[in-house]
């Protein structure tokens, strides 16, 4: 298996995973649900202020490619539609719902066995449920699956590598929800038309490997025994995979990055792996597979997700099942609040996450973690000179020379920046982490990228 240049970062599971329970957060008194929680254009609201909505009711519709429907995460009354804080955008349009505490669900459990449903029917469910790939990018799942199918994808890679330090959500989900996850994987396999499924897990999650591995073992045995449908009731496509492969990967950042993952598992170059479909590969987050199962088997639209709440200043770090639209403040309160004054509150991991100016922003579909860090990080006001030690080049997964790129970016030499392959940079932040001169590498690389255009 080809390796990549990466980093062994502190804070991967061992120090930060407190327990393996999946806690359920209280529904918020007021849910602020942003209309933009996906890749494309913001969804269009289909409710008005004063309307009564039910739990899971569609409140905003998709407006075309890259856009996904948005659902109410509490039952109650719409009290406002307008600009509200957003964790990544600062301020964005959102629908605010006052919770009436009744938890009245919309719709019932689907009457038909999903195994018997045809693909088009399933695809419509996926679309209606507002499913997106549950990573930072948030590409709508239905569009992604359709595209994969049209391009004749062969391999489905389920990404169960935690994307960043401190995040343990996938680990806990694998332990707590393994059967749902496997159902979701099978659905994704059926819908994408893949003939091979690989589940990629980092090898420090031994209990998750054990749980998932034993379930997959029974499942694979059932599949291989001449067409007998043993094991869980699963929808089986005609072209179903022979078996679901579990791949153990070393713990290294950025293993969870889709491009890096594809290039590790297929051996293609990182540049080609950037668009996995050209390699006949579809990458889905494991959390997405769980949401897919919930949507199809329980008819539950995407109105809650698992979020890791962690960091040195959180009193009780937890993995929480949180309703979308719950404010960061409420989520932190769910974890017994903040112990000492935090220096940074982040949405997302410590390497790529967005620092928050306040705690009023809500949890969105793209939020995988809420971290409150209290470690000191040096931020020199004037950049120190590069000592050309080459440490950045040693840890760059794209095998670039960040030192030269940033030196050129400082001089606005965008020609050089282009020739030295800035387009290959995946902004993982490794160079900034390692730089002994504490240079703002990531910021300079982002500047270089912007200047290139």
């Amino acid at each position: 298996m080809p390796s990549f240049r990466g980093l062994k970062l502190p804070g991967f599971k061992d120090e930060t995973l407190v327990d393996r329970f999946l806690y359920v957060a209280h529904p918020p008194a007021i849910a602020t649900i942003p209309l933009l929680q996906h890749k494309g254009a913001p969804a269009k609201p289909i409710v008005k202020t004063g309307d009564k909505v039910l739990l899971g009711q569609k409140i905003a519709a998709s407006v075309g490619e890259g856009s996904a429907a948005v659902h109410a995460s509490v039952s109650g009354e719409v009290i406002a539609i307008g600009p509200f804080p957003h964790p990544h955008l600062g301020v964005a349009e959102a629908i605010q719902i006052k919770n009436d505490g009744l938890e009245m669900p919309v719709g019932a459990v689907p009457d038909k066995d999903p195994a018997k449903r045809v693909d088009d029917e399933l695809m419509r469910i996926v679309e209606e449920a507002g499913l997106v790939d549950l990573n930072e990018e948030g590409e709508p799942l239905a569009a992604k699956l359709k595209k994969a199918r049209a391009s004749g994808v062969r391999t489905l890679i389920v990404n169960a590598c935690e994307s960043e330090p401190f995040i343990t959500a996938l680990h806990v989900m694998m332990v707590a929800k393994s059967s749902e996850i496997i159902r979701g994987i099978l659905l994704a396999e059926k819908l994408s038309g893949a003939t091979k499924v690989i589940v990629a897990i980092e090898d420090n999650k031994l209990d998750a490997l054990e749980v998932l591995g034993s379930r997959l073992y029974g499942f694979n045995a059932a599949r291989s025994s001449a067409g007998r449908a043993l094991g869980p009731a699963v929808p089986r496509g005609r072209r179903g995979a022979k078996e679901i492969e579990l791949k153990r990967l070393p713990v290294k950042y950025p293993q969870g990055d889709p491009a890096v993952l594809v290039s590790t598992l297929t051996g293609c170059s990182l540049d080609k792996a950037r668009d996995p479909l050209t390699q006949g590969v579809l990458v889905l987050d494991m959390a997405t597979c769980f949401a897919l199962c919930e949507a199809v088997y329980s008819g539950k639209p995407l109105y809650e997700r698992v979020v890791t709440v962690s960091g040195q200043s959180v009193a009780r770090p937890k993995n929480l099942l949180v309703r979308i639209g719950t404010s960061l403040e409420n989520v932190l309160a769910e974890c017994a609040g903040i112990l000492r004054s935090p220096l940074r509150v982040l949405v997302g991991g410590p390497m790529r996450g967005t620092a928050q100016a306040g705690l009023s922003a809500p949890i969105t579909k793209q939020t995988s973690a809420l971290l409150s860090l209290s470690t000191e990080v040096e931020y020199p006001s004037t950049p120190a000179p590069c000592i050309r030690c080459g440490a950045c080049a040693e840890v760059c997964p794209a095998e670039l020379e960040p030192a030269i790129l940033t030196l050129a970016a400082e001089q606005d030499e965008f020609e050089i920046v282009r020739d030295f392959h800035i387009s290959q940079c995946i902004e993982c932040g490794n160079c900034t982490y390692i730089c002994p001169s504490k240079r703002p590498m990531s910021s300079l690389l982002k500047y270089a990228k912007a200047g290139r255009l």
């Binding site: 330090p165 967005t354 620092a355 100016a357 000179p385 030690c389 030295f420 932040g429 900034t432 001169s437």
Partner: protein, 298 residues
């Protein structure tokens, strides 16, 4: 919530710092300095002291002339001063060593743009300046009789034990092989340098000496070959950044010192060879960067 930092990611940083690295590089020079002191006594001490002073003052002088922002001393001047003094002959007058390092730091480091921007290794430049002074100074014949013998292909008597402990003629830091190795071991242990460039450098010295039929053990053991392997070839600023560039550069350095030592008949030519190759180091990064580009578009 008032003191929350609103900054761009990543929010984790390694505990490594340029200052710490400089400290380790300086520490690794201490065994060699000790070796020089035991071999040459007070003379060596004076030369080293004046070199460090020259380097520090050279930095201060140019920085104040160019009105650059004042930075805290980070040990770089000490490092350059000590390393330069190791290349000097013990017969060099302390004042000559002062002016050599003063000029070298002023020109090769500060005038090229300050720390991290020098193309030519300041220690090698200091050595070049010292050659001017030593030929002018009546008290300083070249200290390295053995190297002359070697360059002129006269018969060589190599006593390995003498070489290890430094009981031989040579520049300050060149005499004790064991101390150079100790310094290199510190650098490798602290992961300041990768083991490959020094190994490739020594390997290519061996290969080159076999190629032109000279005594390979003499080439490996004498002069500043060991010192260069750990301190000049692996220097951050004057060697390529790219991993493969570093390897190619090390191999070229090994070849060039053997070839120049024998082609010129002057033992000092070896260090000039390294100085010339310094100028090519940035080109390795250039070439490798663009080579990649072409491969991608093909």
């Amino acid at each position: 919530m008032s003191q929350i930092l609103f900054v761009s990611p990543p929010h984790l940083r390694a505990s490594d710092s340029a200052f710490k690295r400089m400290l380790i590089w300086n520490l690794s020079l201490l065994p060699i300095a000790l070796g020089a002191l035991t071999a040459f006594g007070l003379r060596a001490f004076l030369i080293m002291l004046m070199s460090v002073a020259g380097s520090a003052l050279g930095e201060i002088f140019v920085r104040s002339m160019l009105k650059r922002k004042w930075v805290l001393p980070d040990g770089k001047a000490m490092y350059i001063g000590l390393l330069s003094s190791f290349l000097f002959s013990p017969y060099l007058s302390p004042w000559a060593s002062f002016w050599s390092t003063f000029l070298a730091t002023a020109v090769a480091q500060e005038c090229f743009g300050g720390k991290g921007a020098s193309i030519f290794h300041p220690a090698l430049v200091a050595f070049a300046f010292s050659q001017i002074f030593s030929s002018a100074s009546p008290v300083a014949p070249s200290g390295n009789a053995f190297l002359f013998q070697m360059a002129e292909q006269t018969d060589l008597h190599i006593n390995v034990r003498d070489f290890l402990w430094g009981a031989r003629s040579g520049a300050l830091g060149e005499t004790s092989l064991l101390m150079s190795l100790a310094g290199g071991a510190i650098l490798l242990n602290k992961r300041m340098i990768s083991p490959w460039p020094p190994l490739l450098f020594l390997g290519s010295v061996l290969g080159a000496s076999l190629l032109i039929h000279v005594n390979p053990s003499a080439e490996l053991l004498v002069g500043s070959t060991m010192l260069a392997a750990f301190y000049i070839v692996t220097d951050y600023e004057t060697s390529p950044i790219h991993r493969y560039g570093k390897y190619a550069y090390a191999v070229l350095c090994g070849f060039s010192i053997v070839m120049l030592r024998h082609a010129s008949g002057q033992p000092e030519a070896a260090l000039y060879g390294l100085l010339i190759l310094n100028g090519f180091a940035p080109l390795f990064d250039e070439w490798l960067g663009r080579l990649r580009t072409q491969k991608q578009h093909a």
